[in-house]
Symmetry: C2
Subunit: 435 residues, 2 copies
């Protein structure tokens, strides 16, 4: 009969992915180690609940108060004496403005007492306080124009930080003279504090003039709202306060640390796989590109390992993390970046391989939700496209119509974990059996 | 001033790519080593000229005659006493039929005398002899339908071999009892003899019935020309001869050897780079996927190496080979798979990096021709997208409109070698400087 060894093994890896990306445990560990002397807690981002829970449990009575900002879809929970506010993600809403006010208020209240800031991805939308004279729409429209302009990440952030009173170090500045202990869970490529949730406690070396130059460079001066130009020009002529610079005294009392990033999940999984006898290779923790095309490229690496033992010899495990993208052609299709990558990989592997279960792939999001589907991702092994065809599916059509979930569920390939309280992007594990 | 070290170094690598993929030298070496006892020479494929030249020089007077089939765009050259025929590629034409007749005639003439067969990619179109009752159009139409059906490579070849009298071992069979010495330069992923130019001297384990099953499986029985069904059904009922099977006595006197494949080029380059102090990693010799998206994914691996030394530490060199694909939106654009990959990689690297020349990429085709452009490929280093913008180019637009050549030429990035007599697919070298 068919050999389900690799399939079973990969199913067992799902728990390891969840464990390796658990932000409650990771936050707990670093707080127990650091024991920061704080009285106020501010947590925001898609993983604010597990991070705040760890803080409340470790720091207990020391916490006088604070605020936790959670995404609207997340069921509110009781977190000690912390205020809980719901706001929208990825597009900010009124809740985000309410959260912005609360965050600034609690920062000021923490002045001289000790502030703990727990930041995770999504925080940039969940908490906002536009500069006076600007609306939320001004901010979102400007961001959108910048994203489509060809400007690099640093240039985009230069503008965004100068339109906000929480981003670009402002949160830390409100808590002056500190101390501020900030812990970040990264969902951004490169894992720099200044980029995670737009760096609310990270110094900002850029200026209003730099922001204007960026708009000029990408010919956006005539496209962004007039109010944005007004704010930046007033700032450039000294009529608005600059974001706090690296030499600002407040940063002597600010500590920024990384609690976890995608690379930590990959290293955790690598350890498990090596113990189980696999030769392992982490390719990247910041994977990018269209899911289907990346699936193809990864199939080509998989086949080279199988046939030539290059770049590593079977039994081999390739690890990648990050976020691929999906081109949506059919808005009614169900699926996500991980499921499209898995299905595409499978189809390209099955073009060449006839053995069932010789190679396998797991792709899932650490937040438990892949795209618009109820699944976290999928597990596939070579030969499975035949199962789909036998059930009457045309796999290429399902891939083309963004319907990867329907097909993968029908062959028992989906990973269904429900929403997980983490936000460390996706992980891909590819296994190649020994011949 | 700007540091052009990496750029200069990569320019120097072009010669190494050419040398590592030189099929004249490689063929010469194996023939000098093997000294096959032959009288007749048949060479076909995009690299038939350098391979035949090596044979004529090494074997000299021993060669009584034979035929060399070259692509129409290749200027004919004198090759000893060998007949030279021009034919079309990738779509076969009348020349291909003429070549098919000549190849079969020379194979028969070689019976008992010793036949040297030199095969390179493209040979499948350059030489054809359809089974009686079939036209060239029947063959090309059937192949096209199979390629779009989801059938895997083995399934496609199963059908194609049963429609031809030169593919699937037939060429060797015509020269029975041999001996036949065949040398292959591979341009196919996996480098199997049965796949290169459809394996004219490789045994074929598949049958007419298998071919009919493939057409049935992909619901093509009603779509392929009627004449194709007729040939396969006659074959299945024993009224046409089967392709020669692995136990056919002729194969006791047939030797198939690989002269070169893409992996050999990569290993050659790896040696050069290691001598120059780079830590190297070959990722795959059978790269697949859309050029732009693969460029993005490779940028993410490049940045991880730069920032974390994962999977290898700088100074690092990543090597890949194979063939990515290009989605043509604008047929008037000029460029190719290598130039689109290079430009996309550059844009994604420059999104994150500000240092000129910290990382660099070379992508070129070993045949010297990238897509519909006069270039073989391109060399880019981080920071170069600014050069393009300074010259008034919108790089995303040029990429979108398949105009990579225009932009890359304007910033001095193209590699212009002219057509090279090789056909070992493309190579990509990515270099990351030590910090």
């Amino acid at each position: 009969m068919e050999d389900d060894g690799l399939l079973q093994y990969l199913r067992g890896m799902v728990d390891h992915v969840i464990r390796a990306s658990d932000l409650y445990q990771r936050t707990r560990s670093v707080l127990e180690r650091d024991k920061p002397d704080i009285r106020i807690v501010i947590a925001f981002g898609k993983a604010s609940v597990p991070m705040a829970k760890a803080a409340v449990e470790v720091l207990g009575d020391r916490v006088e108060g604070g605020v936790v900002v959670i995404p609207r879809w997340r069921e509110p929970v009781k977190l000690g004496n912390l205020e809980v506010i719901q706001a929208n993600h990825p597009v900010p809403d009124e809740g985000s403005l309410e959260a912005g006010e609360a965050v600034i208020e609690w920062s000021r209240a923490a002045s001289g007492k000790g502030l703990l800031v727990l930041v995770s991805g999504g925080g940039s939308a969940l908490v906002e306080k536009p500069q006076e004279g600007l609306t939320l729409e001004d901010l979102t429209r400007t961001t959108k124009l910048l994203l489509n302009s060809g400007a690099n990440i640093h240039e985009i952030n230069t503008v965004r930080k100068h339109l906000s009173m929480v981003k670009g170090g402002w949160l830390a500045k409100h808590a002056e003279p500190g101390p501020v202990y900030a812990y970040y869970a990264s969902d951004v490529p490169g894992d720099r504090f200044e980029s995670i949730a737009s760096g609310p406690t990270a110094p900002d070396p850029t200026t209003y003039s730099d922001a204007l130059l960026v708009l000029k460079r990408y010919e956006l001066l005539g496209k962004v709202p007039m109010s944005v130009i007004k704010v930046l020009e007033e700032g450039a002529s000294g009529r608005r306060p600059e974001t706090p610079k690296p030499d600002d005294p407040v940063f002597r009392n600010v500590s920024n640390k990384l609690v976890a990033a995608n690379i930590d999940v990959l290293i955790g999984l690598q350890n498990v796989l090596e113990e189980d006898g696999f030769n392992t290779l982490i390719l990247t923790s910041r994977l990018d590109g269209d899911s289907r095309e990346v699936g193809k490229a990864l199939a080509s690496i998989t086949l080279e390992i199988l046939e030539r033992g290059v770049p590593i010899r079977p039994p081999a495990a390739l690890l990648l993390g990050g976020e691929t993208s999906v081109k949506v052609k059919n808005p009614e299709g169900r699926g996500g970046r991980n499921q499209e990558l898995a299905l595409s990989w499978l189809l390209h592997v099955d073009k060449w391989l006839t053995d069932y279960g010789r190679v396998g792939l797991l792709a899932m999001d650490t937040d438990g939700i892949d795209g618009n589907s109820p699944a976290a991702g999928a597990i596939v092994v070579s030969g499975m496209s035949k199962l789909a065809r036998d059930k009457g599916f045309d796999p290429y059509l399902y891939l083309e119509e963004n319907n990867s979930y329907e097909l993968l569920r029908a062959i028992g390939s989906t990973i269904e974990t429900g929403g997980l309280d983490s936000n460390l992007n996706s992980v891909v594990i590819i296994l190649i059996k020994k011949i």
